[in-house]
């Protein structure tokens, strides 16, 4: 029988359509059908100035918008050869890790809810609410922040921001203990996740899995540690790797990543350097509002950047960043004008989706729900 797990389904975490060929409860073949969220972002980016692309990048992987901003900004800064001041880099790391925690909380809440543990959802979203308020404090927006800009940050963080983050960071490890207390030792959770949706190491590498999906199968790679960007080389953190390759292994990896991320946030708060939050490049970075209102040169630069953009030297760059889902890569091709010639987003979920067939064929329908939750796809990333 052919069953359609249609685009509108509470457990597919977005508009993902799965066509399941089943024999009783066992799945014979699984064919994902995507494209329901395709909005042509790559095409639209070619029609906009470089700085106008930044808000579009928020919407690609909408659970970690700051990570997308970061990847794009790093790519264009590499094309320009800009040097970013240390304070901007540290704040980027701090907000990036808060975004990682944000995304993993959504994953944990929805994954556990799919498997029946509905309490965890509200616990996770209680913490997520605090993080969203922190994002609103710093950028004015809860989700689609567009806070990182080419050349640094959009604004300086407001007074009192770091104290609020510290209060959250001190409280959060206790919350992770709460989630683990509800799930890790829970016999029902273990029965639904141990040994389910197995993915071997060779299959994971060959099929293009990335992030915790890859680390849960025993491959020790994390771009923050192996190819550091934006000052990550100054931070100490562990990379959780598990060898079992089942849903429980990926769960353990991500929960450990929650703990490691809050550790990085604490390190960032403790060692925050002083200095400007924007690079020294008047033709690229918008001047401060006060300078723009009082100095003629700043006004002229502001006008030129907004209306004509800035020309980026010709070339191409592939910038890869460790997003909560894995390797997010932006391939930006420039032809020397103020508009990018081609922007390609290599979404981690697009590659991770390919392991679904390997994980689910021969297993039960209920395991498909666990498998989709464990690879943590976001359809904005898949379809763009």
């Amino acid at each position: 029988m052919v069953l359609n797990m249609g685009p509108q389904h509470p457990s597919t975490h977005g508009v993902l359509r799965l066509v399941l060929e089943i024999d009783g409860e066992t799945i014979v073949r699984i064919m994902p059908d995507i494209g329901y969220l395709h909005t042509g972002i790559e095409k639209t980016c070619e029609a906009k100035f470089y700085q106008q692309v930044v808000p579009m990048t928020d919407r690609i992987d909408y659970l970690c918008p700051l990570t997308n901003n970061l990847t794009y900004c790093l790519a264009v800064e590499k094309l320009l050869g800009l040097e970013i001041p240390p304070k901007a880099q540290w704040i980027r790391v701090l907000l990036n890790e808060l975004t990682r925690i944000n995304s993993h909380l959504v994953w944990l809440g929805t994954h556990a809810m799919d498997l029946g543990a509905m309490t965890v959802f509200l616990y996770c979203f209680r913490e997520r609410e605090d993080i969203l308020r922190l994002f609103e404090m710093v950028s004015g927006q809860r989700m689609m922040t567009s806070y990182f800009r080419i050349g640094g940050l959009a604004l300086d963080p407001p007074i009192g921001f770091f104290e609020r983050v510290k209060k959250f960071a001190d409280r959060f490890p206790g919350n992770v203990d709460e989630y683990e207390g509800l799930l890790t030792g829970n016999p029902i959770f273990k029965m639904r996740t141990k040994g389910v949706a197995l993915l071997s190491k060779e299959d994971a590498i060959a099929l293009g899995a990335t992030g915790p999906t890859l680390r849960g199968s025993g491959v020790d790679i994390d771009l923050r540690r192996d190819a550091p960007y934006s000052g990550y080389e100054n931070f100490k953190f562990e990379v959780p790797v598990s060898t079992e390759g089942d849903v429980f292994a990926r769960y353990i990896c991500r929960v450990q990543e929650l703990r490691e991320s809050i550790g990085i946030v604490q390190q960032a708060l403790a060692g925050m350097p002083e200095g400007p939050t924007k690079a020294d490049a008047p033709k690229v970075v918008l001047p401060d509002r006060e300078k723009m209102k009082t100095q003629m040169e700043a006004l002229i630069y502001h006008f030129k950047i907004i209306t004509e953009g800035f020309a980026v030297p010709a070339g191409e760059v592939y910038q890869a960043v460790e997003s909560p889902r894995g390797e997010m890569g932006y391939y930006v091709v420039s032809d020397g004008t103020a508009k990018p010639y081609r922007v390609h987003m290599r979404g981690p979920s697009f590659a991770n989706l390919q392991v679904l067939a390997k994980m689910c064929e021969g297993r039960l329908i209920a395991d498909v729900v666990a498998a989709i939750g464990s690879i943590d796809i976001v359809l904005g990333d898949v379809d763009r």
Binding site: I34, G35, H38, G40, E42, K43, T44, E46, A47, K78, L79, L80, G81, L82, E83, I205, A206, L207, G208, V219, I221, D226, A227, A281, P313, G315, E316, V317, Y318, A320, E327, G329, Y331, V333, Y341, R342, H344, R346, F350, A351, L353, Q354, D383
Partner: protein, 165 residues
């Protein structure tokens, strides 16, 4: 704003593991090379792209066992029009390389690399869907993002950004 100038001389770059392997295998397959902004790009003849990928994957010194990305750039109206771009990563050594194959606009066909890395499956479908580049030997080459009965290839430069269908 300091940018080091790009290096395009093969002699200066031949110590890079990917390039060293390819030069050792078949010097004629490497059409051009560029090291710019700390990234190595190798233009490869399109007829041998699958063998090149296979050799890079099986290189014992630096195995490029992970296919990060397969995408395409449309250089309309200049010919050769399409440039299929492969981003590879070697997980043991963390090296990256970018391979490019140039294709004509009139009949853009290139061999699929899904036999080398199954990860390329979705990426090649996307390039076919949005650019119209055919991949021979692909197990299931159909549109992936656009509806199945869509006409035209949206990411081509002669396709409008806005419009009504």
């Amino acid at each position: 704003m300091t940018l080091a100038p790009a290096i395009t001389d093969i002699e200066q770059l031949k110590s890079h593991p990917a390039l060293a392997r390819l030069i050792g295998w078949n010097r004629a397959a490497v059409q051009a090379v560029k090291f710019d902004r700390e990234e190595l790009t190798i233009w490869v003849d399109r007829g041998v792209i699958r063998e090149v990928c296979s050799i890079l994957r099986d290189d014992p010194a630096c195995p490029f066992n992970y296919c990060c990305d397969v995408t395409c750039v449309d250089w309309y109206p200049s010919e050769p029009r399409f440039e299929v771009v492969y981003h590879l990563l070697s997980i043991p050594t963390k090296e990256r390389v970018r391979l490019k194959a140039r294709l004509d606009g009139s009949s853009p066909v290139v061999e699929s690399v899904t036999s080398v890395w199954p990860a390329a499956h979705n990426f090649e479908r996307e390039v076919f869907d949005l650019f119209g580049v055919r991949f021979s030997g692909h197990p299931h080459l159909e549109r992936i993002m656009m509806p199945d009965n869509w006409e035209g290839h949206p990411l081509r430069k002669d396709y409008p950004v806005e419009g009504y269908r």
